[in-house]
Every structure is written in structure tokens, then in C-alpha cells.
Symmetry: C2
Subunit: 217 residues, 2 copies
Amino acid sequence: MKEIDYNEIPLFEGIHPDNLNKLLICINSFKKDFDKGETIIMEKDKVPYIGIVLFGNVHLLKEDIWGNSSLLSYVGPGELFGENFAVSVEQESSVTFVAVEKTRVLFLAASKIIHTCENACSFHARIAENMFHLLGKKSISYMNKLEIMSKESIRGKLMAYISTLAQQQKSKYIKAPLSRTQLADYLSINRSAMTRELGKMRDEGIIDFDRNTFVIK
Amino acid sequence: MKEIDYNEIPLFEGIHPDNLNKLLICINSFKKDFDKGETIIMEKDKVPYIGIVLFGNVHLLKEDIWGNSSLLSYVGPGELFGENFAVSVEQESSVTFVAVEKTRVLFLAASKIIHTCENACSFHARIAENMFHLLGKKSISYMNKLEIMSKESIRGKLMAYISTLAQQQKSKYIKAPLSRTQLADYLSINRSAMTRELGKMRDEGIIDFDRNTFVIK
DNA sequence: GTAAGTTTGTTGCATTTGCAACAGATTGAT
DNA sequence: ATCAATCTGTTGCAAATGCAACAAACTTAC
């Protein structure tokens, strides 16, 4: 597996590659690898670090009292995770983060981003600004999932989800980053009922699909 | 109606009252009043300002293509709204903000909080830090609503919602900040089915309620 | 105080969805 | 290449929920 290019990581946007190494030391960064299925952060854990996925994929899971776990969100290469806990006051995670495949993570100390650096590095202001942008974006993406989840029917949820992907991928041929089972879990609907509904939608000529690739007609 | 005390506004925590006036001028703040039902920010509007509710209440609504509007979130005195759009790159709102009653809002220029002040006011660093905390908290609150919405049944959603309120209010006697109709809208469930389920739950002795006050047994 | 408008409670019926069980397809390990 | 494990498709049935329609309670404006 190959790490994402550091200049493609949104948090580092606008920071000159020459400064990046200095910066990474300044904000106490370190890398860690996780195997498929391994837990990165458990619910209730203290989260003083922001995670950046270098390769692989991370799922955010929430288990309720009865052991039903649901897939709240997923994070791919270049994206952040745990940042909302890390920048909050308590820094306690309310969800579990799991590597769904072999995954490498770059961790950064949140306090070094929130507080102005004693050395007043020029790039410090820039990374704080980027962090603001990304926190806003993450919040908006949760609002977007809330919109999807607020649809009454399975069909409504599927259409809303596929539309979101179409916008992101700017194409009519949409590859879902989740398997069928995972998608049903993500949308909190029954897997077989979802397959049934997808079949109906294909019969009615609304969409077409093959495995986890979809086409809106 | 009376404005909330400025020293109870989380964004201003740790800032000495003597500095507050100077700060409010420095970050281009202004107040505005809205009548019941009035739209504060429309979907697609540019949002360069962060809103703080001084009195009243604000609802975040999202309308889909067919005109079905759903209640994503609500904001009360002292709380922020629009901040996730204001700190993002595009600054474009994807939802509509509506005053549900007579409401006064204090608006602050987001750019003045994100970027370090040229005067390097001492309190500037503090407000930026508070902003980080609040952005994280807001994100976490959306994740919490996602958890509620991921429950399959009406009963599951109601229990999850009431539990959340109980935690927030630290009491077994819980006053919901939403009317029945609004609550059904917030949870994206049918109002009459919700009333039916609440009745069942009372019959089974799980909860008790009167209007929008609930008791968990 | 009255009337109009809004919110809440109730109930029968149609539809949707979850569930369970199983078969076929696909993937992964050795 | 083979076997085990996991994922996907299918279908009948039971249960949950949405919907519609209406009555009662409550609010608001004049």
C-alpha cells in the first residue's frame, strides 16, 4: 500500500513542502499501522490526537446498550478522523474507530493546532485556518447524512445517498465506497429489504447497478 | 424578552467583560431581531457571519425537491448557528434557518475569528480556541442525532432522544424543547404513530409524560 | 368572550419493512 | 485448485408504521 502524497492532504494545503517536516515535528506527529479489523480508538477513550488516513479506510461505529452496532461514517485517505473529539474540551470519544483494511494513520497533537505556537511558526496560522475549514466541512457532511437519514422510505434514503455520491464524484457512474452489507448498516435499513427495493427501482428504470456501482437514469 | 448574559455565552468564555466591548467591535459584530416565523438565512445564501442566539429559538430546516421539509436541529440562547458554514471555504448554507419565535441574534464576522488579528489582541487567541471547542461540540451533537436517527423503530428513536435530553438536563423530569408536531418532524416519524407508541410505552410503564414533559421510570 | 386556527389524541386500513431461512456467488487462505 | 467463510439475492410471513379522517383540546387575535 502506498501513502497519499502529503501535498494532497487538505489539512496541509498551502504549506510549502520544505516546511512540512519541521511542522510535523513541531506538532508532535507520529505514524501507526493497523491491521484489518483492528480498533484504532475505542468509545470512552481520550482522544488528544487528530488522525489522518495515509492509506486504508476507517469506519466510525456506535454500539448501543443491546450490542447493535451502526456505521455512522467512513473516512478515506487524506481525510481526518477523531478531530471533533480532539478539539473539544473533554476530548472523550463517543464512538469507536475501526480500520476496515490495512490502514496507516498519521496522528497530530490537537493542542498544538488549537493553541498558537510559542515559536510562532508562520505555517502555524495556516494549519489552524485549514483546521477551521475542515471542522466546518465535517459538520456539514454530518448534516448531509442527517438529511439522508430523515427520509421515511428505503427508496428515499437510497436516492438521497446515491445523489450525494453523484455530486461528490461528479459523474453518473457512481462507485459506492461501501459493500452492500455495509451500506444497509450505514443507512440503518434491512439488507434484504434494501436489495428488494433496489431491484424494484431497476425494474422501474430509475437506476441501474452492478455490485457497488450505480447509475442514475 | 431579555438577552442572555454575555458571560454565559460559551464563545466568550474566559474573556474579561472589560475586553468584550473592544472585541465585539474588532470582530464586526451587529445585532438583528427576527419575528416569529421569519427566515434568518436561506439555503444557498452566503454565510460570512456566525450567529449567536441572544433570546428566542432558531430551527434548521432542510427542504427536499418535493417540498418535504424536515427539522434537522434547533438552537437556543447562547448557542451558535451557521458557524459550520461560516468557517468553511465556500461559506454557502445548505439549510434554512428560521426564527420559531421572536428572536434576537448577534452576528460576528467568521473571518475575524479564523484569521489572526493584525492587532494581535490577547483575547483573539482565546476566542479562536473557544471556537475550536464549539465546532467540535457541534459536530459531536450531530453525531448524537445520527445515533438517534439510526434506530429502526419509533420506540428506539424516542428512547434515544429522551435519554439524550435526560443527560443534558441531568434530571428524570425532562422538558422537551419541541412540541409534539415538531418532535415528530425532528425524528422523521409520523406524528400519530408517535402518539400511539408513546401511549403504549406509558401503558407498559416505561415512561410517563404530559404534553412535552417526560419521565423515565 | 368568541371564533378561527392550530395542535393533539384516536382508530381502521393499506403499505412498507423487518425477519428468517436458504441458495448461489464471490472472496480469501493455504 | 480447493475449501471455508463471507457476501448477495430471493421469498413468504408477521409486525410496524404511514396515512387519512375526524373529534377534542388548546391558542391567538380581535
